[in-house]
Amino acid sequence: MTKKYSKVKNMLDAGHFVVCSEMGPPIGADPEFIKKKAHYLKGYVDGVNVTDNQTAIVRMSSIAAAKLAMDEGLEMIIQVTARDRNRISLQSDILGASALGLRNILCLTGDHQSFGKDPGSKNVFELGSVQLIKAVTEMVDNGILLNGKVMEVPPKMFIGGAANPFADPFEMQMIKMQKKVNAGVEFFQTQAIYNIEKFEYWMEEVRKRGIDQNSYILAGILPTRSAKALRMMKKYVAGMDVPDHVIKRMDQAKDKEKEGVKMAVETIQRVKEIKGVRGVHLMPVAWEEITPTVIKEASLYPRPEVE
């Protein structure tokens, strides 16, 4: 079945090197916040992720925020984590998102709530990411809910999943990635890449399994402007691999912002050369305004137009 409703998908299908970005909704109910962010991303990116209570910190609902940004003319990708909702709630939200016109979804298990400000909350994790992908696929492709009920108007979604080249056990992560493909995933966004050698090796394994033939792989890029942030990520962010030489390089840099952009651009240029990588996913944390600069410097601007 061909889907024409997702711009991201259309771009990928057309063979373009896709650029996605990310925005975190506000801790608060201010719609202007979203509009402002949408404004400076407009024209630079093909799709924008909206995080779903990222690192388990309460923020505006990703679907609501995505709708607001979409109205500003952006193509949105809603992130949906299985941490906070059971199967009833998850399916209902996805139906709602589709009804609002949102057309891309990234299905995630979600960071554990112990990372956030509410470690005392009760988690759900009734579904894992693979089961969530499978559930969305069934809803979209066959119009069937998890309980077997058939819908008259199924939702429309381009379905994505996450992949972490730096997580363990390597082989098991590969098996899980394959499971996601089997469950109906159409694109992957990867964890931020600092260890490019390891990423290259991972892509080789991905190609060996033919995963790149059955899904689109977007490489994660995380521009930073301080060695401290890199150290923090290395130490505290689950599944991050930040080699010491990267930290050393940032330490020694005089103009950290410039160096951060340079490092991001270099990574983009390297991953672009790797067979099977079909785009990049930029996720600057607390430095979202740098996205256009990175895209320009990486010669990815202007973005091609697709129907």
Binding site: S114, N123, K134, A167, P169, M172, A238
Partner: protein, 227 residues
């Protein structure tokens, strides 16, 4: 066994309040004795701690102690009938089951919990226990080579590790083993990695307590209940 931990003593004192003159501390001689929280030694220690506290605060409180084999069987609770009646408050050093079982027999008594019931676990070494089962009602250990992803994976994932697994550790705490690393290692050792490729559908939680509080009836002993 059931692993429990004693409540902080100041919390116990707050819980007991000022409105009583006599207290019975009841220990439980099985699980919580082994998990070093509610056996005879703990009962006696707690009694002495409370006596010291009340003596130093000039309060006259009579404290008695007794430890029974199990507080989850009425027969043992009934052995304490007189003692329970004679005292104003009963402090149970059993898991939550024991506390409620005493309540069920003695509706007019204040029965308080002295322990925080933690989990079903195994002893790793002295003073260290680890959760191994949550009593989900439908065992899946056969599919995961004897390592339960529901009890031991922080996210209860049934289809593989999350992206936070690194160097064999869980993203929640490096001291927690990643259950999926353990499952993977076992699969490799048993040469059964291909068994993990199959998609595992969402679990049926109806048989867990999501289906409401559970009661187990063995029909063999309940001929009269047969329909």
């Amino acid at each position: 066994m059931i692993v429990a931990k004693q409540k902080k003593v100041n919390e116990v004192i707050d819980m007991l309040g000022d409105d009583f003159n006599s207290l019975l501390i009841v220990g439980c001689g099985t699980c919580v004795t082994v998990s070093l929280a509610g056996g005879e030694r703990e009962v006696n220690s707690l009694a002495e701690i409370l006596r010291t506290y009340y003596a130093n605060n000039n309060r006259d409180v009579k404290i008695e102690t007794e430890t029974v084999k199990r507080q989850c069987d009425f027969e043992y609770i009934d052995q304490l009938e007189n003692l329970i009646k004679e005292n104003d408050i009963i402090l149970s050093l059993a898991c939550g089951i024991g506390v409620q079982h005493i309540v069920e027999r003695h509706q007019d008594k204040i029965v308080l919990p002295g322990l925080n019931t933690s989990f079903y676990g195994a002893t790793l070494k002295i003073g260290e226990w680890s959760e191994r089962c949550i009593g989900c009602g439908e065992c899946v250990l056969d599919q995961y080579f004897g390592i339960c992803p529901i009890a031991r994976c922080s996210k209860q994932l049934l289809n593989g590790p999350c992206g936070g697994s690194q160097n064999g550790s869980c993203e929640v705490d490096p001291d927690i083993d990643c259950a999926w690393e353990l499952i993977y290692d076992r699969a490799v050792k048993l040469d059964k990695l291909e068994d993990l490729i199959n998609y595992e559908p969402p679990k049926n939680w109806e048989v867990y307590r999501d289906g409401g509080p559970r009661t187990l009836i063995d029909q063999e002993y309940h001929e009269d209940r047969k329909e």
